[in-house]
Assembly symmetry: C2
Homo-oligomer: 474 residues x 2
């Protein structure tokens, strides 16, 4: 009952009502701009020293910035599964059983994907009359039963996997590109990516797909959900010819500049069509910058430790901006701890829908934080595969397990924490600290460099860990 | 002649003329807000995750942000000497001769100070009718001949040294506090600083000194120069009672919040008095955050390597904002490479004065960058004591010497690069690389974590080093 009351209350505040309540006004359009391997530190507004994201910075100036926003997993597939289901990967199935604390994902040779039993946001939004489109990377399975149009999307332009390649052989063909049910070509063959020059016009194609969809839906007077999951900042990074060589940061920066420009164009389109006050836009990324690809093909996690694949802040803390003129006052900064899973619940709330009641939902409705400036008390769980490695409660983060990557990988030159070596923290073996978690204050020490030394009695330790476990199981 | 033309040209643009040209209109007031040990990463606008500097962020939104601004030395005394003389410490005498690559400063027991032969900015501004006040830390010598009122300042409220202590003994008395020529008390005795609680109301006193001076000068219709060199962010950090415990970042953050609030009040006063369009304000810091004091008593250098005392970016890259409503368009970001020494030359230019012609001046006039958006080609030299350790040209930085701190200090637990260990870069012995400088691209790799591997021929190496040396000697 509390949930229903909240949904109605918020709906009245925004001047529309859930369709189920018999109202005629339309719920807002929803646009999620999901970046690939972009780091917290890649935006000017989050301190990138070259300041090359004027449109995203402007979006933040007109909306709400979330400096404490997280993903549910530091790797692309489970992160995207969490966003679309509102659930931790250990609940929605996106974890691996063949190794402890190893993240799952769906490369070309994997036969798994998003289970049919999961409700995805677009499936539910359909009940409120939404038309749903995914542009870009799906990454939740490439077999027919996992196709996005079987999971609530009405339209798709993009690929089931990363733009790795070229493979160019029969046993391992290049990654296909789809328009809806139809395979319209393959990367490298029909959609060229030049590794040598870095040139590819994919971001322009993805921009056109977004623009065309928004214009079409606006003409049809139906609410829409656009999931713009582009991938120019994932190695091999790429940019169109007119952006190549324009960044002070090299090719990775060229990709960021083209994305920034494209987002500027999408927001301007919403304004020009007169629907900006009826379109909720949220910008974030799927996981931290891939420092293994840095600096030429990887981004920046700003002041945070390590990157993609790890459960340090650099792995899961994400840039995040909410934009909804007329509803979010300009220039706001929220101290809400947020998570990509919240986009599921918030999306439902915007549509006047309740989350499914037959399963645990980990995402919370962010609208009270976004529209009313509230701060909702909630923990952040840092998973790696099947293992909850760390928990954040308020400004404190407790590591129950630490691990950067294996000695074996490290000795081969693979380093998830290059130039960073916090003794006893960035460990190369999986080290358990459940009896005495490694504690950090993220306000004083955002870089997780100074573990707090505590004299912890059994009782005070119990006070800290028990509520967290209750919440997790709860 | 080129310089004269430029000064006249800029003056006409701003609607005043140098006094020497017989004009009646008054040159703008000048306010330098110089922080102590505040890091690049401590401001919301530079990406501090807690976003607790709304007034400084607003100052940036109304003015011009410099993400590529430097100090001349990573320690307080030589940095301040460089700011006020426009010259590198090796020229103005603020270096030590008793150890290679060791920074000089002026603790209580040192008898040296700023040489009489140096021209300080306030001395020269007097010629244009300015009244000059220093509030806060002088740090250029405490013997009578070094007194700020002997070097161009008309008024002083503050101390000759850091607020270390309490000493409370005859052989080593507490640091004195002066009002002009008169010693009005001592830290701890008359101006309490409570190490246990962190409480001290010094920032409020320094704020009142600034406010009273601005009001008085405004009534007298004389141009003024205010050098507000406060020190709440230097360990032991402090804040007034009403700010203690208000930051998510702990006591250091409390100090930052009080400073941010005070700067908001100073800018508002300029607005309320109707003189904001006739007052040039520049905000920066004397050196990088002191990571040896972090996280409880030290700040953040954002994505940059190491901190105070070192010649990595964390040691010398500074937060910097220029504010001058009506002259600087709002929301600008300049890619100009700037230096605190430029404040000397820019201050003279604002006053319609030329720099002294009988000596080398290392600071450049930033007005073309600030007012016309130009980017002036110039290198940045990273000195440590008598040794030029590194040079930045464009996005490239070449380390000729590397050194974090000695093995001896390091083994005692003193670490200028905590949690950071870039192999072959953060060396604990003084390592020379003059034959093959250690090269970084600061755009792609602001954290100096990925040395560029180059196959350098003798001729290409010569091309890189010769112009730099010419500039230095020239």
């Amino acid at each position: 009952m509390a949930t229903v009351a909240l949904v109605l209350g918020v709906s009245l505040l925004f001047g529309w009502a859930p369709l189920g309540a018999g109202a005629t006004s339309q719920p807002p359009n929803i646009v999620f701009l999901l970046m690939d391997d972009m780091g917290w530190g890649d935006l000017g507004v989050f301190g990138e020293p070259s300041r090359e994201t004027p449109h995203l910075d402007q979006m933040a100036a007109e909306g709400m910035l979330f400096p404490n926003f997280y993903t549910a997993n530091p790797l692309c597939s489970p992160s995207r599964a969490a966003l679309l289901t509102g659930r931790l990967p250990i609940r929605n199935g996106f974890y691996t059983t063949n190794g402890h604390a190893r993240n799952a994902y769906t490369p070309q040779e994997i036969v798994g994907g998003i289970p049919d039993s999961e409700f995805l946001l677009p499936e539910l939004l359909k009940k409120a009359g939404y038309v749903n489109k995914i542009v870009g990377k799906w990454h939740l399975g490439h077999r027919p039963q996992f196709h996005p149009l079987k999971h609530g999307f009405d339209e798709w332009f993009g690929s089931p996997n990363c733009h790795f390649g070229p493979y160019d052989n029969k046993a391992m063909p290049n990654i296909p590109v789809y328009r809806n049910w139809e395979m319209v070509g393959r990367f490298y063959e029909d959609f060229p990516i030049n590794h040598k020059t870095g040139e590819a016009n994919l971001t322009q194609i993805y921009l056109k797909e977004a623009v065309d969809f928004i214009k079409k839906q606006q003409a049809h007077q139906q609410p829409f959900f656009l999931y713009w999951a582009i991938d120019a900042t994932h190695a091999p990074v790429y940019a169109s010819k007119s952006f190549l060589g324009t960044s002070q940061r090299g090719r990775y920066g060229d990709a960021v500049r083209e994305i920034d420009d494209s987002i500027g164009k999408i927001l301007k389109l919403l304004q020009d069509l007169g629907i900006k006050e009826n379109t909720f836009v949220f910008f974030t990324s799927d996981n931290g910058a891939a420092l293994i690809s840095a600096p030429k093909e990887g981004g920046s996690n700003g002041p945070f430790l390590c990157g993609k694949q790890t459960t340090f802040e650099g792995g899961l803390r994400e840039p995040a901006i909410a934009w909804w003129p007329g509803h979010i006052p300009a220039g706001q900064v929220s101290h809400q701890l947020g998570n990509v899973m919240d986009l599921f619940t918030t999306g439902l709330s915007l549509a006047g829908l309740k989350p499914p009641s037959d399963r645990e939902i980990d995402g919370i409705d962010l609208l009270p934080a976004i529209v009313q400036g509230k701060v909702i008390d909630r923990p952040i769980f840092y998973y790696r595969g099947n293992e909850m490695m760390a928990v954040r409660v308020g400004q404190y983060k407790a590591h129950y397990w630490t691990w950067s990557n294996s000695w074996e990988e490290f000795s081969q030159g693979i380093d998830f924490c290059p130039g960073q070596n916090v003794s006893g923290v960035t460990t190369h073996s999986q080290e358990e600290h459940t009896n005495l978690p490694l504690l950090f204050h993220l306000g004083r020490d955002p870089g997780e460099r100074f573990p707090i030394r505590i004299n912890m009695s059994i009782s005070s330790k119990a006070e800290f860990t028990v509520p967290v476990q209750n919440l997790l199981l709860g």
